[in-house]
Amino acid sequence: MSTTPRVPSAVPDRPAAFGTALAHQPAMAAAFGELYGTFWSHGALDHVTKETARLRNARITDCGY
């Protein structure tokens, strides 16, 4: 897996990262933010359970971020 960004930042003067790459698709980025924000702020699961699953998923996929 590369550690070099594969698409440039869409935000002037900001380095390429998940958010600045996603900004190439502003409507999609907004929709993703709405979904992700709702996931973390609503629902039947407590935050500890959600975060535990997120961290485990990140470890299994070896995502350092």
Binding site: R6, V7, H24, M28, E34, L35, G43
Partner: protein, 161 residues
Amino acid sequence: MGEQTWLIDAPDASLGAVVGLRPELAERYDALAEQVWRSGVDPVLLELCRIRVAQLLGDAAGAALRTPRAVAAGLDEQLVVRLGEWWSHPLFGTVERAALATAEQFVVDVHGVSDEGFAGVVQALGAPGAVAFSMALALFDGQSRIRLVFAAPSSAPGGAP
């Protein structure tokens, strides 16, 4: 009516029925999916990758589905029939091969998506298209996995009665 599901509150195992159990999420999930299909990336290319992801994950229901937007854009069923031969069959061009190679690697082992391989996607689709394509793969992968997780064991071939 789709497959049965062990979720007692869902009428069936269709993605809409399962995700619909959380209406606040379902609405936003649908909105994100809509943006993927409206991103400017060829819907036929997206559909081929969606079907291939479903095939690799053993999601027969997902592989059998057809997204209306892709059908309207001219999805050729011959391409679907030959999807397992994308790397050699003449029906598939450079763009399809770059996209399908990345889609397969995304499912099998995402760390195996190489700089060279993804450069082919960026070259074919541009940076905005490559971003949309990546989100599409995540969405398709998740859709198939959700569908598989919530299907009742009795609905799976060889599963418990």
